[in-house]
């Protein structure tokens, strides 16, 4: 089975993140950049399938040259190789532009299954699997908390606010996963050493036949007009118990979707 995993390098959500003053894009230069956390679950799922059924796992990343560092880290978990789409013209691409590029890259690869994280910790649009499925004409099974592969039949438990839905498709298909699906492995010492020697194929927009003007800031369909820092944390809401504290607490938690 040939599996492609979409991997994005993002600024570490655990540290200070900001937007650039000049064009409103994510400031990558001053950030500590890491693999998007949810993507590690997608990689783990791909590795588990490949280990159980045989197959090949390829990573696909679109991002600046410096994303190579994150690709090597992702490869140290065990995938066989990676494709890195990098081009100066990609800077500032919107979700639609990104999907155009990733779809073009996927057309150059053979795949039975594309796995990705359900969202990235920077953009958080959750739209990529749908857009790619539309462009490639394949089914999208999104928000999986469980994935079963039997032949070309893919069965997913799709996490919802209330519970889960069981949905099925015939591959090739795109599956996005939440962090409930598995527990990603740590890169082993051998994995880290092997990652150095694994192939990373670099592709430019020209290699993929995508016009520079269709992507990047120039071709973006959405634009950051202004941004402001999140206000400092306030004291929070105190629930006083004057007889109906329990009900108030449940009402609050349920309004915030904690329960």
């Amino acid at each position: 089975m040939k599996i492609v995993v979409l991997v994005k390098q993002v600024p570490d959500s655990g540290s200070e993140r900001s937007l650039r003053a000049d064009d409103g894009t994510v400031d990558r230069a001053s950030a500590s950049n890491v693999i998007n956390e949810m993507d590690e679950y997608a990689i783990e799922e791909a590795l588990k399938i490949a280990e159980a059924q045989g197959g090949e796992v390829t990573l696909l990343t679109m991002g600046p040259d410096a994303a190579t560092e994150s690709i090597r880290k992702a490869l140290s978990m065990g995938p066989d190789g990676a494709v890195h789409v990098t081009d100066d013209a990609l800077h500032g691409s919107c979700a639609l532009g990104t999907s155009k590029v990733l779809a073009a890259a996927l057309r150059t690869l053979e795949f039975d299954l594309v796995l990705c994280g359900a969202e990235s910790t920077d953009g958080r649009t959750q739209t990529m699997p749908h857009m790619l499925a539309e462009r490639l004409g394949v089914p999208a099974l999104t928000g999986a908390r469980k994935l079963t592969v039997e032949g070309s039949t893919l069965t997913v438990e799709r996490q919802t606010d209330e519970g889960y839905e069981v949905v099925q498709a015939t591959g090739p298909a795109i599956v996005s996963v939440w962090d409930t699906i598995n527990e990603p492995r740590y890169p082993s010492f051998k994995g880290i050493m092997a990652a150095k020697k694994k192939p990373i194929a670099t592709k430019s927009l020209a290699d993929l036949g995508v016009e520079a003007g269709e992507v990047g800031l120039a071709g973006a369909t959405s634009k950051v007009l202004s941004s402001a820092k999140r206000p400092a944390r306030s004291g929070g809401q105190k629930v006083e118990d004057s007889g109906n504290g329990g009900a108030d607490l449940v009402a609050y938690l349920s309004a915030e979707k904690f329960v």
Binding site: Y186, F189, K196
Partner: protein
């Protein structure tokens, strides 16, 4: 408040590491965070540690015999191996001891001095954590003076009969095999001894007030019959076990810093949040003086360990240089732990915080693999040309 850095970040120590070395350390730190930290206080309190399960987890990552090559071992650099020891000991010295004894003592002895058959039989399983090894050199009456050992092996036809007692043996109660050093007519030699053989008794040592998250035992051999193939063919004389000790000591040079770092981080966290006399403890000059001095020693120790690691990776590391590292870094680590304890006040003695556990563990680390005094004598002899051992 102005921008803060950790003791590790203050001198940008990590800038001396390759991306690969940093990745090794990162994996070990994550593993320790998941499988050691949440449980270690309880292991220490009860004196019961699931060593076998832990060994498999460590083996999966490649931590067992990580610096050895072939036979299922990862073959990482000395610096990477040292960083692993640091991260493990930031969890607990007992966990690092498990890895040191498995990799640097038992596996290294077989890897360096064993026959091809012995290597094939044991090393892959030991690297995976499926077989646990221990190292029998110290005896009840012979610690710093291993040359005085009384354990003997005598020929009986082609076989050997092994008799003697080994004491303070890390991993012994959970081990499948021991590398045992014994006197024969030609001097000291080593044997690979499966511990399920008739005549072998393993007694667990209880009532330890240090390294409680580590299994320690006594090995008693009463005319244990060993085939000729049990002997380590390349081990001739006491320098063989001493070379294993140099390997393990090198890991301790780094490891002790892990315990120190955990104490420092705990103390910084505590004193910046604990308020006395109307402000955080860390806002008082006496606290800052302690934190600054301890951080200096941590950093100097790290730079020393890193220097020894680079020497090892270029094949130049000498035993007396490892003595410098062990003497300094363990001595400073225990001083750091004790001073951090004072900054936590009464909480410092509580098992809720790791500091007293680290301090107690480091008492053992100060003594095993060559006491501080032995390392002073090694360095003294190198400086003066005079032996003051006896």
């Amino acid at each position: 408040m102005t921008d803060r850095v950790t003791p590790q970040e203050l001198l940008a120590l990590d800038s001396l590491l390759t991306a690969e070395e940093a990745a090794f350390a990162d994996s070990v730190r994550r593993l320790v965070g998941d499988v050691v930290r949440p449980h270690v206080a309880q292991w220490y309190e009860t004196g019961v540690t699931p060593v076998r399960d832990l060994a498999r987890e460590l083996g999966k990552l490649g931590l067992l015999g990580a610096h050895l090559t072939g036979y299922g071992c990862a073959g990482v650099s000395a610096v990477a191996y040292g960083l692993s020891c640091l991260e493990l000991e930031a969890g607990d010295s007992g966990v690092r001891s498990l890895v040191s004894v498995q990799g640097s003592l038992a596996m290294y002895a077989i890897w360096k001095y064993g026959s091809e058959e012995q290597k094939q039989e044991w090393l892959p399983r030991m690297a995976a954590g499926e077989a646990i090894g221990c190292f029998g050199l110290t005896e009840p009456d012979h610690g710093s003076d291993p040359a005085g050992m009384t354990t003997r092996a005598v020929r009986d036809g082609d076989d050997w009969l092994l008799t003697g007692t080994k004491m303070w043996i890390t991993n012994a109660p959970v081990a499948e095999l021991a590398v045992v050093w014994a006197k024969v007519d030609q001097g000291v030699t080593g044997f690979v001894v499966p511990l399920d053989l008739p005549g072998v008794t393993v007694n667990e040592i209880h009532n330890k007030l240090s390294l409680r998250a580590s299994a320690t035992g006594e090995l008693v051999f009463d005319r244990v019959r060993l085939p000729a193939s049990a002997q380590l063919p390349e081990a001739r004389g006491l320098k063989a076990p001493l070379s294993c000790l140099t390997e393990a000591r090198y890991g301790i040079v780094w490891g002790a810093l892990g315990a120190a770092r955990d104490c420092l981080e705990t103390a910084i966290d505590y004193t910046t949040t604990r308020t006395q006399f109307g402000r955080p403890l860390a806002g008082f000059q006496l606290t800052q003086a302690k934190l600054a001095d301890l951080t200096l020693e941590y950093q100097k120790g790290w730079l020393l360990a890193h220097h020894l690691g680079r020497l090892a990776d270029s094949g130049q590391l000498k035993p007396e240089q490892v003595s410098v590292g062990k003497l300094n870094n363990v001595r400073e680590a225990i001083a750091i732990a004790r001073t951090c304890r004072t900054m936590l006040g009464a909480n410092g003695i509580s098992g809720e915080y790791p500091i007293m556990r680290h301090a107690n563990n480091l008492e053992s680390v100060l003594t095993y693999e060559g006491t501080s005094e032995v390392h002073q004598l090694v360095i003294g002899q190198k400086l003066t040309g005079l032996s003051a051992f006896a």
